[in-house]
Amino acid sequence: MSEAPSVAARPGSRNLVEVVLRLREAGVVVFLVVLGLAFGLATDRFLSVQNLTTVASSAAILAIAACAQAIVLITRNLDVSVGSMMGLVAYLTADWAATHPGITPVEVVAIPLMIGTVLGAINGLLVAYGRVPALIATLGTMSLYRGFTYIYAHGQEVTSSRLPPWMLSSVDARIGGLPILILVSIAIVAVVAWLLHAYPFGRRLYAVGSNGVAAWFFGLRAERVVFFAYVACGFLCGIAGLLYAARVGTVTVVLANGWEMSSLASAVIGGVSVSGGSGTVVGAALGAVVLATIDNGLVLLRVPEFWRMFIQGAAIVAAVAVDALIAEAIRRSTGGRRR
């Protein structure tokens, strides 16, 4: 009947924290349901199967990007080059596919994953080993990656007619009535969530993010953990970039412009704290669904597009405020000192 010491030693406050965190994700689901009902009452079309599939499809790629962002956020860093990485990956892959007619599906998947991993590794080197603050480093690489896409493209776009037809049709295929894009996205989020939950790497992400100094004393190599968080982020951005390219067909140099903002918004709305150490990738994916639902509902309600920008921004501030309130409540109940 002997338990591992790490499992046995679990003070009451820890349980409270876990309950609150569960509530945070349940809160996102409740908010989503309320939002869905409100839009359903306001417009007839929102709750139709066809429209809900549209919402899920547009949330699918964002959920992967939000997942990527969440991994980095958990380590108390952030990545504002997510959109630029997706754009560069998508353009290079589409250009390669267009200029090499005999390309195989294996290559089409392997190339973006490799490019994404390399781009993420550059970010990771700068932040983890160069000790550059995450915002500055990724703001720099955001413009470097996007600028490189512009220079490489010479103002050209890759049109869908130049891509192999199977590449475009595969994302539109359906399995059991559901678009494959949605299934792939759910599978990726589930695998990442499982990896973070079941493997030491996931625990280390949380350890470094919640208290870097304590993690260091405990013997964790924080640099390495942060580095691999960025590598994982780049890898997932590679997947997201490939799916985006296949979905839109025509790849331009501004593809996924501004996605750093929406991926951050999704993660924050889904309960991933920008102060690190808390939140889950499932929450981030749920946040992406919330954003896609808001977008879709506003379009159906014929609200001008500018309101989306305002609402998305306000949602980030509101989500951050909610997290601060929760953190304050936890601090008070555990008798912690206020900063």
Partner: protein, 332 residues
Amino acid sequence: MSTSAKRQLPLWEMALVVAILAAGAWSSTLSPYYLSVDQLFGSTRAFIIPGLLALGLAVVVSLGEIDISLASIIAVGTVALSKLSAAGVPFAVAAPIVVAIGALCGAFNGLLVAKWRLPSLAVTLGTMGAFRGLAFIAGSEVGYTDFDDVYLWLGSDYVFGGVVPVSLILFALAAAGVWFLMHRTGYGRRCFSIGLNPDAAWFAGVDVVGVKIRAYALAGALAGAAALVWVGQYGSARGDNADGSILFVVTAVVLGGMDINGGRGTLSGVVLALFLLGTIRNGLGLANVGGPTQTVVLGGLLVAGVLRPAAAAAIARLSRPAKTREARAQGE
């Protein structure tokens, strides 16, 4: 540590001066018209708007905080000015109102960051979208271009024989004012002390919340002033004004030697970095280098600017063991 940091700063500023001269020399080889007084003064107009933002951001960064919503406050300011212009308000009345609106936007950020203790990056990321959305909602998609000539004076006219842009004088006054505030007043001292150690500053009786809110309000007010210059330079007001200019602003502040974690840096470094970036961009323009390549250069400079302390530390680490080995050898 503190003495070496003090000794480093003038050195860095000297390096910036040398870099400016080098960039200027390079530019003069590209075009015979580069080294004319008209051109030199006129080219400064390209960085006055981000420059005003950088002055405000430097104050916020000295606290160890960040504000990436400043470019969006410009959009709020230009749209507000267009409304006042359409209502026929005289510029002398409209200008202070726009600056005050900017200060209000900034104070709102400051309230969320200081009073509610929310992380500044996430908050200003949110308000970056929210302010720009507001500007779009208040203005229209089409934009407004029917500004009276009086409204354009600040951003478009020249004085002293038609050589010095009016906006350059505004920038010089603002830079001198912020420099005085940060390096010659108690308020500046309190800003740097908060940036170094907020807890210690609080225990020493510094009104941390008040100082932070005022810093954000100042940055917002400077963004409001930048909106006035924007309208003068471009003659239009639209929700997407100054979109994406935050990269240039952050680069200037970081390259100018402000520690992004707060507590260290000088305003003179920031101003020098602005001149350096302006000269480089002007030179790249003369050399017919396209916008995307300029962005890549800017991003590379930003990364290089922040890698500087890390590189210095690495060199110090490499040289230290060698020294001790020598010392040991001498001791034996």
